[in-house]
């Protein structure tokens, strides 16, 4: 019997041990920073909650994430609809347009937006050459650029849960509605959308959670002007060495994300998300 218990441990142990030592223990260390640097106690948490600058960063992060989530889910719904239900040619084109950006690194994609939106970028050069504008439009280093860049990053992630919800629908329901004289629009709004609602909510929560911890895209497209929470942690750690505060904000962020994940697990069954 002894070897029967030992064998699972030999297989399961290494990864659990590895992540325990390289992730769980250091995370506890970060929590310890948050209550010991620069002094023992919860003063850093008090500061993180009451400091007007940090409050404004939290508010901005929530606002941007909300806008990005709504736009990304709507866009993902549109493309997923054709990806799942279109003609074979439409399916192929949409699939490539979803997969290619998905596999390209976040840096390249953020840079693509800079190339498109900056003062000497594609859009401004063309608009100026066409004589539509005389001064370049400011489209990066502000929230507009951040929202576009984050949407672009997150749309493919939102597509997968929505598409899997759309695939699992029973075609006969639509035939029945048709037979009873419902218009296409009515079928879409009264049947199709409500039936894919779990996918929409799952995608929305996932995108929102991802967006909260976003760092690279806002840092490049925001140009330090519209700082989000993740960038604030970076700045607290490396520019104004204030490790205790950076750690405290990280722990708060982790708690928020944890709460949202629990909500997500209640809405979408985890085994569905894996498959």
């Amino acid at each position: 019997m002894k070897s029967d218990r030992l064998k699972p441990a030999l297989l399961l142990g290494p990864l659990v041990l590895f992540l325990g030592l390289a992730y769980l223990v250091p995370f506890l260390g970060v929590m310890q920073w948050s209550v010991t640097l620069p002094e023992t106690g919860f003063s850093q948490y008090g500061k993180a909650v009451s400091d007007p600058l940090i409050q404004s960063v939290f508010l901005r992060t929530f606002r941007i994430c909300l806008i990005v989530t709504l736009c990304a889910v709507a866009a993902a719904y549109a493309i997923a609809y054709v990806w799942v239900r279109g003609t074979p040619a439409q399916r192929l084109v949409t699939e490539l347009c979803i997969l290619i950006p998905f596999w390209i690194s976040v840096l390249t994609r953020a840079f693509g937006w800079v190339a498109l939106l900056s003062n000497r970028g594609l859009i401004n050069t063309w608009l100026q050459a066409a004589g539509i504008i005389s001064e370049p439009l400011t489209m990066v280093r502000n929230e507009f650029g951040v929202v576009l860049g984050m949407m672009h990053f997150l749309i493919p992630f939102a597509v997968f849960p929505i598409a899997s919800a759309m695939r699992s629908l029973d075609e006969r329901v639509f035939l029945a509605a048709r037979g009873m004289g419902a218009s296409r629009l009515r079928i879409f709004w009264s049947i199709f959308v409500p039936m894919t609602l779990p996918g929409i909510l799952g995608a929305g929560l996932m995108v929102f959670v991802f967006a909260l911890g976003f760092f690279i895209t806002p840092a490049i497209l925001g140009g330090g002007r519209s700082v989000m929470i993740a960038e604030l942690i970076y700045l607290r750690l490396f520019q104004s060495p204030d490790w205790g505060l950076g750690a405290a904000i990280s722990v708060i962020l982790m708690l928020i994300v944890g709460a949202l994940l629990v909500l997500m697990l209640r809405l979408v069954r985890p085994n569905k998300m894996l498959g």
Binding site: V30, T87, T108, G112, Y234
Partner: protein, 266 residues
């Protein structure tokens, strides 16, 4: 119910939106200027030349390759053992362990970054191999970040294996290692390869955590790109981006073509 023309139009608008920034990179990479701009009269290859001339670019590519291979080998191996353990023995605490190993994937990247920064700076006090700003340190940190993805991929592959073949092998008295190497692994080898490939790509592209745990020595390719993107944007970034985009498109088109051919055969 086929999509209406309006639905198709909306979907293709989104598709265009997804491709647009990737297309925009191409003309910018041919600018003759030293700053980010559109080429007007002459198209120049100077920024592609700069990639070859500046040894820092080639060094960072070589570093990223080494880190990618080491971290994805570690992550895939540990993930494979873990997923096999869960699948074969189905321990009662399995879902709890599963949730635990997915932690680096679901936690905000910045929280993982500060956590791994703590991990490596602490290790730096006792050794110089697995430490802050070393290539092995970065590889270990990447392995932490990509292991959950490898676990998901291998678990998905295992979910498609028919349990009865394993039960049959067990019934005939096969040992655990025989079941693993002779029965289960041959059935999931494609899934394991996919896990390894995904792990490598994730490490190759990783920047969120890398930014926190490197400074001047372990400059990976993404880190190198990040430095060129921050203040004065270096058009060499456009050139390297075009190359990376072409690689991704080639791989995806090749894969699509192969799947297409296979689906026509059967």
């Amino acid at each position: 119910m086929k999509p209406t023309p309006i639905a198709v139009f909306l979907a293709f608008t989104v598709a265009l939106f997804l491709l647009l920034p990737l297309i925009a990179v191409v003309p910018v990479s041919f600018t003759p200027a030293r700053f980010l701009s559109m080429p007007t009269d002459v198209w120049s290859l100077r920024h592609y030349q700069a990639l070859l001339d500046n040894p820092a670019w080639l060094q960072s590519i070589w570093l990223s390759l080494r880190i990618g291979i080491l971290s994805s080998v570690i992550a895939t191996l540990l993930a494979l053992m873990f997923s096999l353990g869960i699948w074969m023995f189905r321990p009662w605490f399995g879902s709890l362990l599963f949730g635990f190993v997915l932690l680096p994937m679901v936690a905000p990247p910045v929280v993982s970054a500060i956590t791994l920064y703590f991990f490596l700076t602490t290790l730096s006090k006792v050794n110089d191999v697995v430490a802050y700003d070393t290539w092995v340190g970065v590889a270990i940190a990447h392995a932490v970040m990509i292991a959950p993805f490898a676990v998901v991929m291998v678990t998905v592959a295992l979910a498609q294996v028919d349990r009865r073949i394993d039960l049959a092998a067990r019934g005939f008295g096969a040992s655990v290692s025989q079941r693993v190497f002779k029965v289960i692994l041959p059935n999931i080898k494609f899934g394991v390869f996919t896990a390894f490939f995904l792990s490598f790509v994730l490490s190759w592209e990783e920047i969120g955590v890398t930014l926190f745990i490197t400074s001047v020595d372990a400059v990976t390719l993404p880190r190198m790109m990040w430095m060129g993107l921050r203040d004065n944007i270096d058009p060499a970034i456009a050139a390297i981006s075009v190359i990376l985009i072409i690689i991704v498109i080639t791989v995806i088109l090749a894969k699509t073509a192969v799947t297409f051919k296979l689906s026509r055969k059967t």
